[in-house]
Symmetry: C2
Subunit: 311 residues, 2 copies
């Protein structure tokens, strides 16, 4: 059996590299997924996930995360959660509860606290400064405040053919208190069935939740389509439908992986992602939208240096 992982954005590589080492040692897709996403959550350089994520309009970091097991369909998720150091680890624990698997707001923090998970102030000095500057700018001009909303979403496949999917994000910069996007929402933000494959989304949650495109992608893979074909058939017609309604669809990006290691992406914006298979290294790619056939190239050293500048 093959092993593989795919994840959204350049940041995914930070987590996939140590997680693939675990998969090679025979660890489960559940362990690898949590290792990978937790590494991204812990890294304050990434300002849309976990520690160092950009805060909401009130200056508070609120996180959303989800975990799904493709063998059992068990789901755990949290949304609008504060002070949880590792949202993905809490989501996985929630997936193992007999009920109360999706917790929002103070109840999510209460669960994490009473179940021994580390709590942490997720606001960094850097993020607090950006919030203060943005606030001043928004007061001075009449700007659309919603910039960053890059979710890390990953699909993992272990040597036993077990698949998992997970997402984690601090959501829209300057969002309203309690605002939630697609990341904790099954079907829209993620879906996985170990017998077929998995998919995860990133982009403007308010648009991504208008259709269950991760669920549909997995269904289409179940009908025999490759990961790329399934994403193409699910994602682009819906974006076109929104455009035809005059809705100016915002960012949509997806990754998908099958149990054979076949992978694909779909996007309507420039989109980086990371893939690792078997004993190969983690490769970061850059996709450029081109109708429904994105151009995909390995990133260059120059691109990576620019992306990682200021680290």
């Amino acid at each position: 059996m093959t092993i593989a992982m795919i994840g959204t954005w350049r940041m995914a590589e930070t987590g996939i590299t140590p997680a693939m080492a675990q998969l090679r040692q025979g660890k489960s897709a559940g362990d690898a997924l949590v290792t990978a996403i937790q590494a991204v959550e812990d890294d304050p350089f990434y300002q849309s996930v976990g520690f160092g994520g950009l805060p909401n309009a009130a200056g508070v970091v609120e996180t959303d995360a989800a975990y799904m097991d493709g063998d059992t369909f068990q789901i755990g998720a949290l949304a609008g959660a504060r002070d949880i150091a590792h949202p993905i680890a809490v989501a996985r624990a929630l997936s193992q509860e007999p009920a109360n698997n999706l917790l929002v707001g103070p109840g999510a923090t209460e669960y994490a606290s009473t179940h021994g998970f580390p709590l942490k102030n997720m606001l960094t000095e850097k993020a607090a400064k950006q919030w203060a500057a943005k606030r001043q700018e928004l007061t001075a001009k009449d700007l659309n405040p919603y910039d960053g909303h890059d979710t890390v979403g990953m699909v993992a496949l272990d040597a036993g053919g077990h698949m998992t999917v997970g997402t984690s994000t601090s959501g829209l910069f300057m969002k309203r208190t309690g605002r939630v996007g697609d990341s904790p929402l099954p079907g829209a933000g993620y879906y996985v069935d170990s017998t077929i494959g998995g998919a995860a989304a990133t982009g403007m949650g308010e648009d991504l939740m208008k259709a269950s495109l991760c669920y549909q992608t997995v269904q289409l893979m179940g009908n025999g389509l490759s990961a790329s074909e399934a994403l193409r058939e699910a994602v682009y017609p819906f974006i076109a439908r929104l455009a035809a309604l005059g809705q100016h669809p915002r960012e949509f990006s997806y990754v998908a992986l099958s149990p054979s290691g076949d992978w694909g992406i779909a996007t309507n914006v420039e989109f980086s992602f990371a893939v690792a298979q078997d004993d190969g290294k983690t490769q970061i790619y850059l996709a450029t939208p081109n109708g429904d056939h994105p151009d995909i190239q390995p990133v260059t050293a120059a691109w990576l240096a620019k992306e990682d500048a200021g680290r």
Copy 2:
């Protein structure tokens, strides 16, 4: 053009009857849906929706609701919300925002408060007494606390062919603080496309969220299946899949409606629902599971008298 509404459980009739009068007067599917669901939210006799809903483990009523427009795919939803008199009206207002369409926890109440929606203590004396009794019983024995979880979910069709869907619930009795089920989750709890039809779910949210069956039902209707056929093809195979995994699937019930007025239901438990079409009266039906072909009969006067006893 025809007009029609369908809604989950006997309680739906309380709202559909006044809402159908509005549809007959030419009002929109949006107005009718809010009228219908708000009538159920206002009625303290129904203990799983709105005012009089049963509280969480901490003794607090927390509500979830969603509104979706089938012409535009705009969605508004709230989850784990306290003190909001009419969750469905707030969900509709959220669907009209350019972003921040799904709000959870204190942020949802803040939005309702700052946008002039009435606030209300949703706990009735009757519900508080039931909570106290249940708490005592749970302390005395080791019982599964999760009884009531009946969401009101409705689909509306107006004379212009415009369709909407909405859900509202106080969720599981004795749920954890912040617990959310499928009701505010698009695809799992509800979906509508005015060109195809709409669907809504009720049952054990933790299981219903394991697949986007409302989304899939609408897709299947788009492939030419009737509402009944689409529900049959989407719902029962997934329940069978969970059963094959040894998961003892809990309650699944769905209603669906097409723009021609064709309707259907699927359920694995005894399930009442209400339907109204054109100028006919609202009919309450009782469905009894029978494989994937539920037996559907109009309710008897005796059944209704028993259901409404104690009002």
